[in-house]
């Protein structure tokens, strides 16, 4: 286990360094420069030059990278070019909101997806199974922004039950969480169904059944093994979730990290865009690391295999 952990962690560190360099470089190639955002369009070229020098933008990019890392290490995160808010403050506020939304969506997708998948497997090829799978196909086929619009139409415009956008009470959380969870629920459900079906045909399950165990206990034994692929999918799912938060948060004006990143990219607020790109990349890499670890914990075959 220790060796497995160490290997995965080393790999993750390498990826982190490469990814942060890639993000840093790509944002340095942005058209126009920060002086265009922060200074008046009428500002003299000398003033622009002085501004760039103050920010260190005239130095080679790799030096800027190390300077930036140094600042990060000292907790000196800079501030927004648009409204001057310190980035650390933005991070705490928006990060908290994103975490709430992401965890709510993740929990929702498992709480709904796993039982429905088991139910479909237990009722294989009967109407209930077809209904659940049809629901799943729909969940995967509907783009989340379109689902968002349909929900807003139904619950905000027609019924006036839920606010269409904003933050930060449970009422505001419901629709974004449902939209963010939709695809994951469908994927979890399908995965759970096929993985349960695979287990149900195994010898050990047949033996349990032959001993006369009640059906729900038999399913419980199958479930333990059937959950392994679900766990292994978590890393990828977290990655998708982080991607989709960008769209869902923007639609519902949910003030999370995704919303902030999209806004800062649209307004060319470079320090904010750069910091939060790094934050989200970090989140993706760490969640895949976490999933690897989880996978090793639930499946001993992985832990001891030489990969």
């Amino acid at each position: 286990m220790v060796e497995y952990l160490a290997r995965r962690t080393a790999r993750t560190l390498v990826i982190l360094v490469l990814a942060s360099v890639a993000v840093f470089y790509s944002l340095r190639f942005a058209p126009g420069d920060p002086s265009g955002v922060a200074l008046s369009p009428l500002a003299l070229e000398e003033i622009r030059q002085a501004y760039r020098e103050r920010l260190g933008l005239n130095k080679p990019i790799y030096l800027q990278y190390f300077t930036y890392l140094g600042h990060l290490a000292h907790g000196n995160l800079g501030q927004s070019l648009i409204n001057g808010k310190p980035i650390g403050e933005l991070f705490l506020y928006h990060g908290r909101n994103s975490l709430i939304l992401g965890l709510a969506a993740l929990a929702l997708s498992y709480v709904i997806g796993i039982p429905l998948g088991i139910l479909a497997a237990a009722h294989r090829n009967r109407p209930l199974d077809h209904a659940v799978m049809g629901f799943g196909a729909l969940g995967m086929g509907i783009p989340n922004f379109w689902l968002a619009l349909l929900l807003v139409y139904l619950f905000s415009v027609k019924l006036k039950w839920l606010p269409s956008a904003g933050c930060c009470s449970p009422k505001y959380l419901i629709m974004p969480a449902v939209v963010l969870a939709a695809e994951g629920t469908a994927v979890t459900m399908r995965m759970m169904r096929s993985s349960m079906l695979e287990q149900i045909n195994q010898d050990f399950v047949r033996t349990h059944r032959a001993y006369g165990l009640p059906e729900w206990k038999v399913l419980l034994f199958a479930l333990r093994n059937a959950l392994i692929p679900i766990v292994s999918l978590t890393g990828l799912r977290l990655g998708w979730l982080i991607g989709y938060t960008l769209i869902v948060e923007t639609i519902f004006n949910w003030p999370g990290v995704g919303y902030l990143l999209v806004e800062s990219v649209l307004r060319r607020d470079y320090p904010v865009a750069q910091f939060f790109s790094l934050v989200l990349v970090l989140a993706v890499v760490l969640s895949s690391w976490l999933a690897d670890i989880l996978y090793g914990v639930v499946d001993p075959r992985i832990r001891y295999a030489r990969v």
């Binding site: 190639f29 379109w146 807003v152 989709y244 769209i247 990219v265």
Partner: protein, 303 residues
């Protein structure tokens, strides 16, 4: 694409040829497709929408960008506006076919390029092995798991809003996806008897790859390809919806849906028409993918 016929058959496959299905592989594929109702439905929907998209310049009845405030908010089925007009009086039918074209160019066009890049990378990794494999498949693993939308947004930060950032993101991530599949197939196939037999009679590496290995790797690649196209189309529309993808006046299904979001109560068709179209397109592609998987690769069939 087809495993049991053609020059690249193993001994086990040769036994199967005795079954009287000695027709051309494409014909056999079409027969199976006709039997698979869901796949057929997916194929018909996808092909119809593709046709609309590719014939956009001939099907459009108006200039997709021309505004006419006097004719705004016309409901569908008007004599001069088949699907009505949007909030600034642009013809929705003309915008729809051009919007489909945008979706299809990003979805199919870019995925096709990614298929070529992915095939080259995946074949190199799988066939060469050694450190080339370590480096290439290491890079592929990292890129493949990365969320498409996050990459597109970061690239937008670097390049400014517009389709190029979306195109590059889709291209890079789908290439990695294809490379991953192809590498696995090449590894599984390169020591099979029929490949070794071809090598024994003096086939060059290139001939082995092109004539014997890649044709047999096509099935899983095509299946995943249809899902990748759907993912790319959803990503493009989603990014356009929030204002990062296609920039006005170029129509995209995503921007069209966003255009109508403030008029849902009275003039819902502005959003509904492109919304239903994109759901149909994605559903069609997913059904086609499921069907292709059942027909081409029975091993993967869900029970």
């Amino acid at each position: 694409m087809v495993q049991a016929t053609g020059p690249a058959s193993s001994a086990a496959d040769l036994a199967l040829i005795r079954i009287p299905v000695h027709r051309h592989p494409v014909l056999r594929f079409l027969t199976e497709l006709r039997r698979h109702r869901m796949a057929l439905f997916g194929a018909v929907v996808t092909l119809t929408l593709m046709l609309f998209g590719f014939l956009a310049p001939w099907l459009a009845t108006h200039d997709y960008a021309r505004q006419n405030l006097l004719e705004a908010f016309q409901p569908p089925l008007r004599p001069d506006h088949l699907l009505g007009t949007d909030q600034i009086g642009r013809d929705i039918w003309s915008r729809l076919v051009y919007g489909l074209r945008t979706s299809l160019l990003v979805g199919f066009g870019v995925t096709l390029i990614a298929l070529i890049a992915g095939t080259v990378i995946g074949t190199m990794a799988g066939y060469l092995g050694g450190w080339a494999d370590t480096v290439l498949s290491g890079a592929v693993e990292i890129i493949w798991g990365f969320p498409l939308i996050l990459l597109a947004v970061i690239l937008t930060g670097a390049m400014g809003p517009g389709l190029p950032a979306v195109v590059i993101a889709v291209g890079v991530i789908n290439s990695a996806g294809f490379a991953r599949i192809i590498r696995g197939e090449v590894l599984a196939l390169r020591y099979r008897e029929f490949v070794q037999a071809a090598r024994a009679v003096g086939a060059t590496d290139l001939a082995l790859i092109v004539r014997h290995i890649l044709p047999n790797a096509m099935a899983p690649t095509l299946v995943m390809g249809s899902y990748y196209v759907a993912l790319a189309i959803i990503a493009e529309a989603g990014l356009s919806f929030i204002g990062l993808g296609a920039q006005p006046p170029l129509p995209s299904l995503g921007t069209m849906i966003a255009d109508g979001r403030n008029y849902l109560l009275h003039d819902h068709w502005i959003s509904t028409i492109p919304g239903v179209t994109i759901v149909l397109l994605v559903l069609g592609l997913n059904l086609l993918g499921d069907g292709l998987r059942d027909i081409l690769d029975p091993r993967l069939r869900e029970r």
